[in-house]
C-alpha cells in the first residue's frame, strides 16, 4: 500500500490539471514487450475469483464483505456476500453486442439496490479485472519514467495501465480528462491474480475498496 500512497498525490495532481498525463515514446523495439506486460496484469478469461473486500465509504464508514467475480461467455458476473453468506448483490454485465440489456441485476438488497450502484460496481470490477479490448492506442512513458499502455474504450474515457519503474502496477481510468478510478495491483500477480487490489474512487462521494484474494479457479 505504501507505493500506492506515494503515487496517488502525483496522479491526482496530474488529473486535476484536466488533461491526460502526457506520454513520451518508447524505443520501437520495446513497444510489443510493454504491451504484453500491460495485458498480463489482467487474468486471462474465463476465470472465477473470490476476494475479501474492505470498503471505506464516505463519512468514515467501514464495512467488510466477500466478493465473487467471474467471466463467462455471458459476460462479467459479480456477487457480493455478507460475512454470514447472504447474497447482497448479484449482477451480470453482458458482453458488448450480446442480446438483452447490458446490465442485469439478479438480486440487490438495501442498500445495494440504489440505481447507480450496479453500474458503479461493475465498472469497478471491470477496471480491476478486465483488460481493455483490443490493442492499446498508445504505448509510452510518463515523465516519472513509468511505462504506460493507453486505451480509450469509450469516447470520453481513457484507461492507462501503468508499469512503475519500482515494480508497481496500476490501472487508471480518466473520464473527460479527470481521474475517476485508480486501481493498485499489489503482490506477485500470478496469472493476473494479485494478492491485493486496492481501488480508489476520488472525490466527495469517493470510496476505497481493498480486495484480498481468497481463491481463484
Amino acid at each position: 500500500m505504501t507505493r500506492t500512497c506515494c503515487l496517488s498525490p502525483l496522479l491526482l495532481l496530474a488529473a486535476s490539471c484536466a488533461h491526460l498525463p502526457s506520454l513520451s515514446p518508447l524505443p520501437e523495439d520495446a513497444t510489443a514487450a510493454t504491451t504484453a506486460r500491460c495485458q498480463q496484469v489482467f487474468p486471462r478469461q474465463p476465470w472465477h475469483a473470490t476476494h475479501t473486500i474492505f470498503a471505506t465509504l464516505p463519512f468514515g464508514q467501514n464495512s467488510e464483505l466477500l466478493g465473487v467475480t467471474a467471466t463467462s461467455p455471458e459476460g462479467l458476473h459479480a456477487v457480493l456476500l455478507s460475512p454470514e453468506g447472504l447474497t447482497l448483490f448479484d449482477g451480470v454485465q453482458r458482453r458488448q453486442g450480446a442480446a438483452g440489456p447490458p446490465l442485469v441485476v439478479k438480486r440487490a438488497v438495501p442498500p445495494f439496490d440504489q440505481p447507480a450502484f450496479a453500474a458503479s460496481l461493475m465498472a469497478d470490477v471491470g477496471s480491476a479485472f478486465l483488460a481493455p479490448p483490443g490493442a492499446p492506442l498508445a504505448v509510452g512513458r510518463y515523465a516519472s519514467g513509468d511505462s504506460v499502455c493507453r486505451w480509450s474504450p469509450l469516447a470520453n474515457e481513457t484507461t492507462d495501465v501503468v508499469l512503475g519503474v519500482a515494480g508497481t502496477k496500476m490501472v487508471l481510468t480518466f473520464r473527460n480528462l479527470h481521474l475517476v478510478r485508480q486501481v493498485a495491483l499489489v503482490g506477485s500477480g500470478d496469472d493476473g491474480f494479485f494478492t491485493e487490489v486496492s481501488l480508489t474512487v476520488p472525490g466527495a462521494g469517493g470510496y476505497t475498496l481493498e480486495m484480498r484474494l481468497v481463491d481463484r479457479e
Partner: protein, 212 residues
C-alpha cells in the same frame, strides 16, 4: 440489517454430539423449551459453507461462537474475513479487522440488531412459537432429513432475503448440530458446529470488544 441475525437467532441453541437413548427431546415445543432452559453456556467452533452457482467449489468460512445465559453472545469469523459481533448485557457491537486493528463496522444498524436480539431471547428459551419474525414449523426426522425447526419469514421483505431457515437438532437436549439458510434461487449457507463445550464458565471479556 436485521437479516444479518437471522442465523444468529438459531445459533444460540447450538451444537452437540452427545446422545441420550430416551425419546428425542424435540418432540414438541414444550420439550424444546425445557431442554433449552438447561443450557447455560456454549463455546464452539463452526464451519460455514456457502454454495454459489458461479463457483465450482463452495466458499468456506470458519469461526467461533460463545453464548452465556441470559443473552451474552460472541459470533466471530476468523477466516477468510475477520469480523466480530459481541453482545453483553444488551450492548451490541460489530467490528471488522483492518490492517491488524479492530474497527467499528459502521454499516451495521445496531438499533435493528437490538430488535432482532430481542427475538433471540425468545429463541434461547426454545420459544420459537413466540417469534414475531419467523413462523416456526416443527419437522420430525423423515425421508433422510434430520429433525429440525423450519422458520419461514413472516415479513415479505425479509422473505426476499432469506426464504427459510432450517435449525437441525442434535441429540443432546437443547442443542443443534447445524443450520441451513436458504435464499430463493441462490443456494444455501450451511453452518456446522464442532467441538462444542457446554456449561463451562466463560469470562466477561469474551463478550467485550477486544482491547487494543
Amino acid at each position: 440489517m436485521a437479516w444479518r441475525f437471522a442465523f444468529v437467532l438459531a445459533v444460540c441453541l447450538a451444537t452437540s454430539s452427545a446422545a441420550s437413548a430416551a425419546e428425542p427431546w424435540y418432540q414438541d415445543w414444550d420439550g424444546i423449551r425445557k431442554a433449552a432452559a438447561r443450557v447455560n453456556t456454549i463455546e464452539t467452533t463452526f464451519v460455514q459453507t456457502r454454495t454459489l452457482k458461479i463457483l465450482a467449489k463452495p466458499l468456506v468460512s470458519r469461526g467461533v461462537m460463545a453464548y452465556r445465559r441470559p443473552n451474552d453472545l460472541r459470533w466471530e469469523y476468523k477466516s477468510p474475513l475477520e469480523t466480530l459481533l459481541v453482545v453483553r448485557a444488551g450492548n451490541v457491537q460489530r467490528l471488522v479487522k483492518h490492517a491488524g486493528k479492530w474497527v467499528t463496522d459502521a454499516s451495521a444498524k445496531l438499533e435493528a440488531m437490538k430488535v432482532v436480539l430481542g427475538e433471540i431471547n425468545l429463541w434461547l428459551e426454545g420459544d420459537f412459537s413466540s417469534s414475531r419474525t419467523f413462523r416456526p414449523v416443527l419437522r420430525p426426522a423423515a425421508a433422510g432429513q434430520p429433525a429440525h425447526v423450519e422458520l419461514v419469514p413472516i415479513d415479505p421483505s425479509l422473505a426476499k432475503i432469506v426464504s427459510r431457515i432450517a435449525i437441525i437438532f442434535a441429540e443432546r437436549p437443547g442443542t443443534v448440530s447445524a443450520i441451513d439458510i436458504y435464499e430463493e434461487n441462490e443456494g444455501v449457507t450451511h453452518i456446522a458446529f464442532d467441538n462444542p463445550r457446554f456449561g463451562g464458565a466463560i469470562p466477561d471479556e469474551r463478550f467485550d470488544p477486544p482491547r487494543q
